[in-house]
């Protein structure tokens, strides 16, 4: 069965590549690139983009024949799998790239403030309805909520404070207490950190001090990301480079520009995994607030 990719993320190699099937889910398959410590993801979706994603829209595609450990090889833009009739043609697929780093969101604008507040309320309601372990409001009241919430709230407060002060060492120290923490294949702490980075990238604009912080923090984060699994580490890797999923970047953009469609966009961003989406949105909303004013290390 030959199908055409609808789009490919900017991190998909454009040259020939070899990979091993790392993990397989109902609508997504991760491929571990040979000679690279990261994954690319084959996903069936009509809208959801990933920097490491190869998106296909065909609803009749089944990944049952793609089992963990099988070989995959891409030659001249066509991806084939060992022992599977499935081939995916990447040649005509347009490249998708996240442009969050160009957003330069002004969180002091009235429309951005209004959107931020609306999303914060939606998030808390959604988290309570789903009985997730992390409730955004609880993070600012120590010793409240689940054990996970209590355990993660201190490092989050430490991260906020150290990021405001451009203190790299302390920020990494805080992140280390969160990495790999919580339920899910991408643990909640990792999802929060990814969202937090999205918030920082969204507001950094061309500010050299902020960009320098993000780069240094990103480097430190990749060092400690060895403490989490490869799926999570791949997302963190792209986040340190300003690349996020389409749902998270759409939400950042909608908040920055005060979109009228903010509810639907925020629901889409939260509706990823069991709690991953909500954890990332929590991180995004907090990250957006860190650098409200023009700060310069110079």
């Amino acid at each position: 069965m030959q199908i055409h990719a609808t789009s490919i993320g900017e991190a998909i190699p454009r040259d020939n590549f070899d990979a091993l099937i790392h993990s397989a889910f109902d609508t997504a398959v991760n491929l571990h690139l040979v000679d690279a410590e990261r994954l690319i993801t084959l996903l069936v979706s009509d809208h959801y983009e990933l920097p490491q994603g190869i998106r296909i829209e065909s609803k009749d595609v089944r990944f049952q024949s793609l089992t963990v450990g099988l070989l995959a090889a891409c030659r001249a833009g066509v991806l084939r799998f060992e022992s599977s009739p499935l081939t995916i043609d990447l040649r005509a697929a347009p490249m998708w790239k996240c442009h969050i780093s160009e957003l330069n969101a002004d969180m002091q604008s009235p429309s951005a403030e209004r959107s931020w507040t609306a999303v914060w309320q939606i998030l808390n309601i959604r988290q309570k309805l789903n009985k997730t372990e992390i409730i955004a409001d609880d993070l600012f009241q120590l010793n409240t909520g689940s054990l996970l919430s209590q355990k993660i709230s201190r490092p989050i407060l430490q991260l906020i404070s150290s990021t405001e002060q451009f203190d790299i060492e302390d920020s990494i120290h805080a992140a280390e207490k969160m990495i790999g923490l919580g339920p899910g294949v991408t643990p909640s702490g990792d999802d929060f950190l990814i969202g937090f980075l999205a918030g920082l990238w969204s507001t950094s604009g061309g500010n050299q001090g902020q960009l320098s912080f993000i780069h240094s923090f990103g480097n430190g984060l990749m060092e400690i990301a060895k403490q989490t699994n490869l799926i999570s580490r791949t997302y963190i890797h792209h986040a340190t480079k300003g690349q996020f999923s389409s749902s998270l970047s759409n939400l950042a953009q909608a908040i920055a520009f005060g979109s009228e469609n903010i509810r639907a966009i925020s629901e889409a961003a939260m509706h990823v995994g069991h709690s991953s989406g909500m954890d990332s949105v929590t991180g995004l909303l907090i990250g957006l607030c860190i650098w409200n004013t023009e700060l310069s290390l110079a």
């Binding site: 040259d15 005509a92 490249m95 899910g184 699994n229 069991h274």
Partner: protein, 518 residues
């Protein structure tokens, strides 16, 4: 109360499944708490704090850790066994369908695995290509023959058979096509749009489609005909079928035809059918006088760039545009500045091309401005290079000519020959400008600039040692969507002082302006 844990190696389940899985475990008789998390250091520490793990276990972030708290050891152990069985069952289900299939070894076998296919690309040694094409046509498939060395005696009956059965034969020696957005052979990743192209030239097709993309237009179909199609003997069968197909295609609003000038009888038929299409048609019969082609609905142009510009303009509802053939002001300035860097002996252009049509177009444009240009594919026989391995005066060489490709890959893939020739030209005190084409897209070298840059730097050193400066001028044929990425390739070349223009025609005109600008 009893607790216990089990580690399952390299097992990944999505978050929702893990949550449901944990809930199922909690619902088992005698179980109070259960959790399935990735075995990271922080999660292990959390489970210890929660009392679900008695002691810290070694972390293993890629493994799944299941912890269970129950009324007694037997319920805990039973729950863990059940958990492992559930997970293994899921893995086995996921493994179904892993039957090894034999890859297709014939067109018939290919059709069995893909019954809806209606198109076959044939790339075999030339002596077998016609037979395979015949089989494909008899199976009702359209054919693209990438292979060369197929004689016209074989080509003609194939195309006649195809026409009688309402099928299309692209080729032989059809190197480039874009069908339903899929690049085939040497082709670029271009935007979809409303311009349909039929071309007898591979690199010509690449240039017009890439420039259409660069100028904001897009392609419906780009049909290659092969180089013999517009000869009298073949009669332009594929080009005429291509025009008919684009005429019938509601997505195509503008038709663009590219070829060297056809035989007069074929040209007449092609232009008649183009006029009857009822759609605006742009024609670049490279080397033919545009005025001799232009009529009410047909716009004749002189260069591939003009063809792309006119097509995009018409597609956007504008007039085709006027084409003076003059250099833009910016390039005139660059030419003047570059000319000042040359010494009196440096008088000649040395064009080293990987694309045959780029070489041919350059020969036409340089001859117009500078007079005689020598080549291995000259415009007239008197200007054939005496020794193709050595340039004389103004020279433009098609390095894709059979003469140069025996025993080595095409120069769009293998840069060794061109790089050697760059160094040779740099040694020549009469060389003023080295003119290059760089072709991106599928099929081409994955990093052409990376191949050229060391040779260019070496050439610059050779010239500098002799107190000269050689000017490098070129154009990159490609798009941002190409695997090699247009911007990245251009940036690498600009970094080593290659002067780049948008098109091959502009590069030729700029080179001519540099050598005649003193």
């Amino acid at each position: 109360m009893a607790t216990s844990q089990r580690m399952i190696k390299n097992l990944y389940r999505d978050s929702v499944s893990l949550m449901q899985f944990s809930e199922k475990l909690r619902a088992l008789d005698g179980i109070k708490q259960a959790s399935a998390v990735m075995a990271t250091e922080n999660n292990i520490s959390l489970l210890v704090e929660a009392g679900l793990l008695g002691t810290v276990v070694p972390s293993s972030p890629n493994d799944l850790l299941i912890v269970v708290e129950g009324e007694d050891d037997s319920s805990v152990s039973g729950a863990l066994d059940q958990a492992e069985a559930m997970l293994k069952q899921k893995s086995a289900e996921a493994g179904e369908g892993g039957i090894r299939r034999v890859p297709p070894r014939s067109i018939e076998m290919g059709l069995e695995s893909m019954p809806a296919a209606n198109f076959v690309l044939i790339s075999t040694p030339g002596e077998y290509a016609a037979a395979e094409a015949r089989k494909a046509l008899q199976l009702g498939l359209h054919v693209m023959i990438f292979s060369d060395n197929v004689s016209m005696e074989e080509e003609i009956p194939l195309k006649q058979y195809a026409r009688e059965h309402d099928l299309l034969v692209m080729g032989p020696d059809c190197g480039t096509a874009i069908i339903n957005g899929i690049p085939l052979g040497f082709a670029n990743v271009v935007r979809r749009g409303d311009i349909g192209v039929v071309a007898a030239s591979g690199t010509g097709l690449q240039q017009v489609t890439s420039l259409i993309d660069r100028f904001g237009g897009g392609i419906t179909q780009a049909i290659g005909t092969g180089g013999h199609d517009l000869k009298s003997e073949v009669g332009g069968i594929t080009m005429l079928q291509g025009i008919a197909a684009l005429t019938a295609d509601p997505s195509t609003r503008v038709i663009l035809l590219v070829s060297k000038p056809p035989s007069p009888d074929v040209m007449k038929n092609v232009l008649e059918q183009a006029a009857q299409s009822g759609k605006p048609v742009v024609v670049d019969f490279i080397g033919a006088e545009p005025a001799s082609i232009t009529s009410n609905s047909i716009t004749g142009v002189r260069t591939l760039e003009d063809a792309a510009v006119a097509s995009v303009n018409i597609s956007k509802g504008k007039s085709p545009g006027k084409f003076s053939g003059n250099l833009p002001a910016r390039s005139t300035k660059v030419a003047k500045e570059s000319a000042t860097k040359l010494n009196a002996k440096q008088r000649y252009i040395r064009g080293l091309f990987s694309g045959g049509t780029f070489c041919y177009e350059t020969l036409l444009l340089l001859s117009e401005k500078l007079g005689t240009v020598y080549s291995n594919i000259p415009l007239n026989k008197e200007h054939k290079l005496e020794d193709v391995w050595k340039s004389q005066e103004h020279t433009a060489i098609d390095l894709g000519d059979d003469l140069f490709t025996q025993g080595r890959p095409h120069p769009m893939i293998d840069f060794r020959l061109r790089n050697e020739r760059i160094l040779q030209e740099a040694e020549d005190p009469e060389t003023a400008v080295i003119l290059l084409d760089i072709v991106l897209g599928y099929g081409s070298n994955m990093d052409p600039a990376g191949e050229l840059v060391p040779a260019i730097q070496q050439a610059q050193k050779i010239a500098a040692k002799a107190r000269r400066k050689v000017i490098f001028v070129g154009s990159v044929c490609g798009t941002e969507g190409d695997p090699q990425n247009l911007s990245r390739q251009e940036a690498m070349l600009r970094d080593v002082d290659v002067i780049l223009t948008d098109s091959n025609a502009q590069a030729a005109r700029l080179a001519a302006a540099i050598v005649s600008g003193r």
